[in-house]
């Protein structure tokens, strides 16, 4: 009884051979295999108890998040992608600076369910994708859509990407005064990916986003002081370079990202990853990232108004309608992420991977200016496991 031949299986097997296609290619090509991917993420962030600020210790947020992703080529030129993710978020976020909501009340528990669908049509070396996404949680609802165009030159060495997206998010806090506010985001990307040599690929991407509407954190606004401008223009430049070391069977992936917004947050991020191929189908990838950013112009340090006391910033009484935030993410800091990922490819399209990351952020780790004083180090751990199957 002959084995029924799998479609295109011999070419797929041949493509696994080394060096039979020019090594580095910025191709626009139709995926020819169905991929199912399951990932489970565990994340927690925390700040050490230094015993100085009351109620400022311990764990912050914990996220447990299973996700499912399916990529299915349904003909020679149409590809469908569907993703679904469920987040269970527990813990407490600070009301202001490092003073926890959980310390003075209960921690939060939130469940987020999100799904997205992307449909891509290939016209030779050009691909057009349309994406729709929906996300819902107890106090938040987001609907988003986008459009991306990719085009490769005839030699497949250069790929151009442009994309545009729009999202509309509603926030309706469950705690305190009841209201619904809307935030809209319009974003765009333009990029070029260039094969530089047999072993080198470079990429430059430009991002722009405009957020408008209610950009304040509602819980920080209710229990602390959080008043943000109702628009934010964000700009980023990403430069990436991947180099394959043939003699070592390893790839160095490095990138630099510059970010600027009109809230005066300027960030510089450097990332390096070393993807080492090992025997038996293993790949081990250690990674490191450093980011340094300036504070938003309306971030205030944990020094409070002499009359009103915490959480009010100095001068609040005479200027209550100005912009204020105590959000650590908008402070000035330096942050380091160290990670390691181990992946193994098995026969018949199966592969598994696991990764662990540790992140630490401190005011005095900033380079190129002073960090925000008076905040405890913010730390996070991330663990993720994945199982993938290709047909």
């Amino acid at each position: 009884m002959p084995t029924p031949a799998k479609t295109g299986s011999i070419l797929a097997a041949a493509l696994a051979l080394p060096g039979v296609v020019p090594s580095a290619q910025a191709q626009v090509t139709v995926p020819n295999a169905t991929l199912i991917q399951f990932k489970y993420l565990y994340y927690k962030d925390y700040q050490e108890n230094n015993g100085v600020t009351p109620g400022s210790s311990g764990d912050r947020m914990t996220v447990k998040s299973p996700a499912l992703y399916l990529l299915a080529p349904i003909s020679d030129s149409w590809v469908f992608e569907i993703g679904a993710v469920y987040d269970n978020i527990t813990g407490a976020s600070p009301y202001y600076h490092t003073v926890l909501s959980g310390a003075s009340g209960e921690g939060v528990e939130d469940k987020r369910l999100a799904g997205d669908i992307t449909v891509t049509k290939y016209f030779g070396r050009t691909a057009v994708s349309v994406r729709g996404a929906y996300s819902t949680e107890d106090d938040y609802r987001s609907i988003a859509g986008g459009f991306t165009l990719r085009h490769a030159t005839p030699d497949q060495n250069t790929t151009f990407t442009i994309g545009i997206g729009y999202s509309s998010d509603d926030v309706f806090p469950q705690d305190g005064p009841v209201f619904t506010r809307t935030k809209n985001t319009l974003d765009g990307i333009a990029g070029i990916t260039q094969v530089l040599s047999r072993n080198d690929v470079g990429q430059v991407n430009l991002y722009y986003a405009n957020q408008s509407g209610y950009l304040t954190d509602p819980y920080k606004a209710i229990y602390g002081v959080d008043q943000r401008p109702d628009s934010r223009d964000q700009f980023a430049l990403l430069v990436r370079w991947n180099h394959y070391f043939q003699s070592l069977n390893a790839t160095l992936r490095s990138s630099y990202r510059y970010y600027h917004d009109d809230w005066e947050v300027d960030a510089n991020t450097f990332t390096a990853e070393w993807g080492q191929e090992l025997p038996e189908g293993f790949t081990l990838t250690p990674s490191a990232r450093y980011t340094t950013q300036s504070a938003a112009f309306f971030y205030y340090d944990p020094v409070y108004d002499a009359t009103l006391g915490a959480p009010f910033p100095p001068g609040y009484a005479t200027n209550p309608n100005a912009f204020y935030t105590s959000d650590q993410r908008l402070s000035a800091f330096g942050g380091i992420t160290l990670g390691v990922k181990l992946a193994k490819v098995f026969a018949e399209g199966w592969s598994v991977d696991g990764k662990a990351e540790y992140y630490e952020q401190r005011g005095d780790w900033r380079i190129g200016g002073d960090g925000s004083p008076g905040l405890q180090a913010f730390k996070a751990q991330l663990y993720q496991v994945g199982v993938n199957k290709k047909f």
Binding site: S9, I10, A13, L17, V20, R198
Partner: protein, 285 residues
């Protein structure tokens, strides 16, 4: 590789063209040296010499080729088999003698991919077994050589190793390469058809490459490793596929299958083909 080789490339000037083709030829020579079963210092010889002993560990490139061979063996229901070379001991195409069944029966226990212990990167062959990369080495070399030229900037040209062609890119004016298909019953060099190949590769297997006739019957070098006898379903199968190694594998496997099975197989592989059966009927897509 005991066959004719050719590199054709459009380049800005002659020096560049020479440099590119030299790099491609060097890559072909590297593969030939590494995998020739006629060389004492080749990987193939080292593997065969270790047959009957312990497992040996192979390098990453050889491991990839063995993985590919294992996949082809599975996809062809055992028709494609790197270990079938042992059968040449019974089939002498120079003298043209039909071997006795007993001679084949003695060799068949030494043939069969499934008798090999292959756990990448370790390989163990039973005593008196042999492998050779003759069935895929030439096409692999054509792909690697073409990739070398693309990597240094070549856009238009082809690499032809004994009729297995990997196109680097179309002619400089964008025209496809017209690749001739040998008439399997004509004089060498007579053409039965042309296939237009702007990108990708074309490979042909035929019963005319090595054969002898005995009492009106043609015995070709295409031996079924499961029986030890030549197959007679096809005169030739030419396949156009994105890679020479895929085209070569498809044409070789199709040659070993009966007409209906072979056509079904080629269609499932989504390749273009021109196949001529034992009665001279042509099938193409």
């Amino acid at each position: 590789m005991a066959s004719h080789g050719e590199v054709r490339v459009y380049a800005p000037d002659e020096t560049t063209a020479r440099g590119w083709s030299d790099a491609a030829i060097a890559e072909v020579r590297r593969i030939e040296t590494k995998y020739s079963r006629y060389r004492d210092d080749s990987v193939t010889t080292a593997i065969n010499r270790a047959a009957g002993g312990g497992a040996i560990s192979v390098d990453a490139e050889t491991a990839s080729l063995l993985d590919f061979a294992a996949e082809l063996h599975a996809q062809s229901d055992g028709a494609f088999d790197l270990t079938s070379g042992v059968l040449r001991r019974a089939w002498d195409f120079k003298t043209g003698r039909v071997p006795a069944q007993t001679a084949l029966d003695q060799l068949l226990p030494r043939v069969g991919w499934s008798k090999i212990e292959w756990h990448s990167p370790t390989l163990r062959l039973r005593a008196e077994m042999e492998i050779d990369f003759g069935g895929i080495g030439k096409e692999y070399a054509a792909d690697r050589a073409a990739a070398v030229i693309v990597d240094v900037g070549g856009l238009h040209g082809l690499v032809n190793l004994g009729g297995d062609v990997r196109v680097i890119g179309p002619h400089a004016d964008g025209q496809a390469w017209r690749i001739a298909v040998q008439d399997p019953r004509g004089e060498p060099g007579t053409t039965i058809a042309y296939l237009n190949v702007p990108h990708g590769a074309m490979a042909t297997s035929g019963d005319y490459e090595r054969y002898f006739e005995h009492e009106g019957r043609r015995y070709s070098h295409l031996l079924d490793p499961r029986t030890g006898w030549p197959v007679e379903h096809w005169r030739s199968v030419s396949v156009v596929a994105p890679l020479a190694i895929a085209a070569g594998a498809c044409s070789t496997v199709a040659m070993l299958k009966p007409v209906d099975d072979a056509l079904q197989f080629l269609q499932a592989q989504r390749v273009r083909y021109l196949a001529i059966d034992c009665a001279g009927r042509q099938y193409s897509m």
